[in-house]
Symmetry: C2
Subunit: 408 residues, 2 copies
């Protein structure tokens, strides 16, 4: 999932503006609020700019006009080129088993999450199925589960809590690496026989963020173009699904929700993924790893984490999670995770409202831990901004000396 | 709305196939079922092919990457170029009032219909709000209303029936011109004070289908790229909304449903609408009306209706609706409607299953009247196929001599 939601609470005049070409003009003067609440993946734009025309998509006025892509596919609105590119990408990266699996395209993984809830439930049950995820959980799960007040399912909060006290049928969402805290996760609710079903949200299970410890092989695995290559504006996601009937029901959901998924964006995603994969097949032997997407972007994330950890260490106001090094099958090295978000915990006292302090003292907008089901001493900060904004964030962070003396 | 839904019931081997370029290879041999159940707008493809490179969209790999288009807009994921093109198109056509109205972009009008239901209801009511539409109503309304078993709203069927016997708060969907029967419509449920709210589905309120009798001016008016220009594969629709809070809630729905709408498709729609409008502003004086989209496509629809009416007249098996000529503000002429669907009614007997007979006797797949809330002597047939398929349909229709002796 995306790590992005409503900008409604943000001071509008202070946000980075996006123009129609997708280039962004950050406003970094110290008067302005620095918006690091959403996970807008601007960090990857410079890589694609370097690629020049290689990823340019050209669509004539008479192309891609039909609703239908392939009536012989369960997911009849999926472009065959998109499916092929997704399978190829997973084979190049080795992060998910795709052989003998169904692919379902969605309008971002937001839609696929809801498609999975629909596919895993059925009308007529005595009460809605409980949907849980281990806290801190992705802040949009509660709203995306409950906004239509469905009788099929309802948000039931923290999976650890449900494991202790919950009863009845449930769906556990396993977000790995987890948004907000970057940890690699497994299911939490245990020993329930047939009552439990799983959705794996693997939006960040890509080599720029985390070691690829094994090819993931779960019943429903959701991925998104937004976080894999950084193309959030295209609203493209996909699910890798074991069971044919579940794939059929997820496709049916998308049919009823939006009658398919933009073909323009599917074709563009196929092209961009294809160029990314070509890089690995043509260039790896030549050892020009800076031209390769995951090596290049992992390097950027590693540098950001190093600078961030130095700053956090120096001013002693926050802690950051520590991640174990693990062997990455993709790179063949023992490496650290470099998550897309910093999950900051205030060192002083349990009652500090870290979001409020950051906003009040250094005009940095993060997202409070409360939204993720935990204490407000936690705050999530996006590390996916462009370099100028990230640098400005570090500069502002360096001016905080103590939480309790700031912004209270 | 689109007039399209699940292909699941269709004989797969017999369908027109769509390749990745959007060109379609119809299979018209008499052994094959002719699929005229969906309203796939293939009829418009030849026009856009004639336009050559003028509508070609070019997107580089680094463009349109952000989730955000304009944080200062209530609909923050809407590309400014798209909004501008929509306003310009309505000004050129004169089919809707857009001044001082909000525009909300959606993933097709399917999503905007659901966004409107969400915007017009609120949690905590004693029971779900009734959603009604006058029969024959668009066949996808019931499923799109009920698939998530919402406590906010529920499908309650025919608006005429509700007007007589229904009680409590309701939403009436006014589809004009109506899919399936092509009639221009107004709200049916009367005299309910504040209990009733309206959604106007104006997917077919464009000059190729109907006289533009006035600039429509309703609270919520939904339109779609699929039926206006024929670009169904892009999944783009828009709502014209009077009330700011309703526009905000519709945008919130789309945020929670799909976290925005494909920017690639929004930009492509803006480009295509722009070329269409340029045609009117540059060429109308030169009287090259065959180059103009609505004149060109209206001419095709008029010819199809003439050929269809001749055939139906000749074999005396079905009736077609008769439409009054009305003054069209767009063309400045008194003209007939030429709907995108033929709404065929069997002449013989009330119990004829017209869909079954067409399928059994001439291998034509339409959609039964039952799906639209009326008798099965009615069947809806798409007139939006390409020319080859339409011609084959007429040839097959000419071989039917009597309903009761065919396919029973």
């Amino acid at each position: 999932m995306c790590g992005t939601d409503s900008p409604a609470s943000i001071n509008k005049s202070s946000l980075p503006s996006a123009n129609g070409n997708g280039t962004r003009s950050p406003t970094c003067s110290s008067d302005h609020v620095l918006n690091l609440e959403q996970g807008d993946p601007a960090v990857f734009e410079s890589y694609w700019r370097k690629m020049g025309d290689r990823c340019t998509m050209v669509i004539s006025g008479s192309q891609l006009m039909s609703y239908i892509s392939d009536f012989t596919n369960i997911c009849w609105f999926m472009e065959p080129e998109f499916e092929e590119a997704v399978r190829r990408l997973h084979c190049v990266v080795g992060n998910a088993v795709v052989d003998d699996r169904y692919i379902v395209v969605g309008t971002g993984s937001t839609q696929l999450y809801q498609a999975a809830l629909y596919a895993l439930t059925s009308p007529g049950g005595p009460e809605p199925v409980s949907v849980v995820s281990a806290a801190p959980y992705y802040s949009s799960y509660p709203d995306e589960t409950d906004y239509l007040c469905s009788r099929l399912y309802k948000w039931a909060g923290d999976a650890y809590e449900f494991d202790k006290n919950g009863t009845g049928p449930y769906i556990e969402v396993v977000n790995s690496p987890n948004n907000p805290d970057g940890t690699l996760r497994e299911a939490v609710v245990k020993n329930r026989g047939d009552e439990g079903k799983l959705i794996h949200d693997l939006a960040y299970y890509w080599p720029q963020y985390t070691p690829i410890i094994r090819p993931a092989d779960h019943d429903i695995m959701n991925f998104t173009f937004s976080k894999s290559t950084g193309h959030a504006g295209s609203r493209i996601g996909w699910a890798v699904v074991k069971d044919k009937e579940i794939a059929r029901r997820m496709s049916k959901f998308i049919e009823m929700s939006t009658l398919g998924v933009s073909k323009d964006s599917q074709q563009r995603a196929a092209k961009i993924m294809g160029v990314l994969c070509d890089g690995y097949q043509n260039c790896k032997s030549a050892n020009k790893s800076d031209d390769l997407f995951f090596e290049h972007t992992r390097q950027i994330m590693a540098e950001r984490w190093e600078r961030l950890r130095q700053m956090v260490e120096r001013n002693q106001v926050f802690c950051l999670p520590k991640y174990p090094k693990q062997y990455c099958l993709f790179s063949g090295e023992l490496i650290e995770p470099y998550p897309g978000f910093a999950w900051l915990e205030a060192k002083e006292g349990e009652e500090i409202d870290s979001q409020k302090v950051l906003r009040g003292s250094i005009k940095v907008q993060g997202r409070t831990g409360r939204r993720f089901g935990v204490a407000e001493k936690y705050v999530r900060i996006s590390l996916l901004s462009n370099e100028e904004v990230f640098k400005e964030f570090l500069e502002r962070l360096s001016t905080i000396k103590s939480m309790s003396s700031n912004g209270h």
